[in-house]
Amino acid sequence: MSVTLRINPIACTGHGMCAELLPEVIELDRWGYPVVVSPAIPRPLLDHARRAVQACPRLALLVEERAGKHR
């Protein structure tokens, strides 16, 4: 199973919380919107990723758990 991070770009308004809480994976672009540098979350960062998801004021950050193949 792999865990990936995804942004709902419609919901996101660029608060930037995620980049504060998860700088290893998320950077902000020149307009302040998050760029997921590497979508696959390494296991040691999982708790941090979940915390970032909960902290997003727009609920725009999603952790997707995928078992095996995905279309």
């Binding site: 709902n8 770009p9 419609i10 919901a11 996101c12 308004t13 660029g14 672009d29 020149r30 307009w31 302040g32 919107y33 760029v35």
Partner: protein, 437 residues
């Protein structure tokens, strides 16, 4: 740059296989003329699900631009539990395309046959035919065609002809679904995709109107017949809209895999010396003429030379016209047509339009090309829909196809071509629909 390259002559064999969709153009409008041209449609077939097998065997792919297997999309909706919806997408958002409008104005019953068949195949209990709401004449024309069929007792259920906002991204399938659900005609975040949860929460089949027209002929003549034209890997025919510097611009039906050069020849040949083709429209790609000429018009064939097929748009680009200036205009339009929902599109496309306009019309600034190259990854794959990706693809191809022109603009300033009247069609401000709902 080369212009008139030798083109293999269209053989007599080819000529016999087409037209298919457009065979009805010479017949009188209305149901009687339609049945005379194509033969009657036998609905309901004994096993409606059988049509999906035939469509899958035919190899028909979506003709709206994405090229997804049409049968597979139908199967996904058909096997889902509960009530279903069918949506025919005739809201041609691409200014350089005219094929859907041609089908709907001249051969509406072919599209309506396809809707009736799709309704039965997936077991839908409602059906919509969506076109631009600003096109009152077309709406009336289609409503009359639907009424004519109702009077003849042809369709399993009445098709609801619906006007949707005429914005570029409103013809994206999730936009249509959101609009039919009472929201704005803007793309939505997925999943769920329409085939999972669409109109009224029901699994929804959204097919382009040309795809449905092919369905109408496949139901009559079968998958073997369909595969009798085109390539084994890309069977059938498709409609292409040819414009720009050709002698007879218009909509043509071609076999899949016909080369770009043959298509230009079909459209009367180059009106002047050509330097490039724009394929796939404003989500598409610029290709130097010598690269494009032998390329077969299929998704894979154009992709192999760095191009894209999109909804079958080919613009012949004359020598002397400035591709930078026109791309800058198009990107400005596309930035204005963004739904503005996603930050990277909302801010990135105007930034891209500004940077391109500066390079095209002012030029002479060191780093102008690099600045544009840095913007592209900031918009690509960062929207809920493919709008920013499509624009980025067009801009990338501009620099691949015209590196010398780009450098000329950067170092020397605007070329003489920027003062020529624009060739790429864009709706005027007064024709544009500025509403979302």
């Amino acid at each position: 740059m080369t212009a008139l390259m030798p083109v293999p002559a269209l053989t007599a064999r080819t000529a016999r296989r087409i037209p298919r969709l457009l065979a009805g153009l010479g017949h009188p409008p209305g149901l009687a003329g339609h049945e005379h041209a194509y033969g009657p449609l036998r609905v309901p077939p004994r096993r409606p699900g059988r049509l999906i097998d035939v469509v899958e065997a035919s190899g028909l792919t979506g003709r709206g631009g994405a090229g997804y297997p049409a049968g597979r999309k139908m199967r996904a909706v058909a096997v889902a539990p509960g009530r279903k919806t069918v949506v025919a997408n005739g809201a041609e958002g691409e200014p350089a395309s005219g094929k859907d409008r041609l089908l709907l104005t001249r051969l509406p019953h072919l599209v309506l046959d396809g809707i009736a068949l799709a309704v039965q195949a997936v077991g839908a209990d409602e059906a919509y035919l969506c076109v631009h709401g600003t096109d009152g004449a077309l709406l009336g024309h289609l409503e009359r065609a639907v009424a004519e069929r109702e009077a003849a007792g042809l369709d399993p259920l009445p098709v609801q002809v619906t006007g949707i906002p005429g914005r570029y991204v409103s013809s994206e399938q999730s936009s249509i679904v959101q609009y039919l659900n009472g929201g704005p005609a803007k793309p939505t975040f997925s999943p769920p995709r329409p085939h999972e949860r669409g109109v009224h929460g029901q699994p929804t089949l959204v097919h382009n109107v040309e795809t449905l027209a092919h369905l109408a002929l496949i139901a009559r003549r079968g998958d073997h017949w369909f595969r009798g034209a085109g390539l084994p890997s890309a069977p059938g025919t498709m409609l292409v809209t040819v414009s720009g510097a050709v002698r007879r611009p218009g909509v043509y039906e071609i076999e899949m895999g016909t080369t770009a050069g043959e298509v230009i020849t079909l459209a009367g040949g180059p009106a002047v010396r050509l330097q490039a083709l724009l394929t796939g429209g404003y989500f598409g790609t610029w290709l130097p003429a010598e690269t494009a000429w032998p390329a077969p018009l299929t998704h894979a064939g154009l992709r192999a030379v760095g191009g894209s097929l999109g909804a079958g748009i080919v613009v012949a680009w004359p020598a002397g016209a400035c591709p930078l200036a026109e791309t800058a205009r198009v990107v400005r339009y596309m930035a204005e047509e963004s739904a503005g929902q996603c930050g990277p599109c909302r801010f990135g496309l105007p930034a891209l339009a500004d940077a391109l306009a500066a390079l095209a019309f002012s030029g002479g600034r060191e780093g102008a090309i690099d600045g544009i190259a840095e913007l592209l990854p900031l918009v690509e794959r960062r929207g809920a829909c493919r709008h920013p990706d499509g624009v980025a693809q067009l801009v990338r191809s501009l620099f691949t196809a015209f590196p010398a022109d780009a450098h000329w603009h950067q170092w020397q300033g605007a070329c003489g071509g920027v003062r020529r009247p624009p060739l790429l069609p864009l709706p005027g401000d007064e024709e544009r629909d500025w509403n979302w709902g």
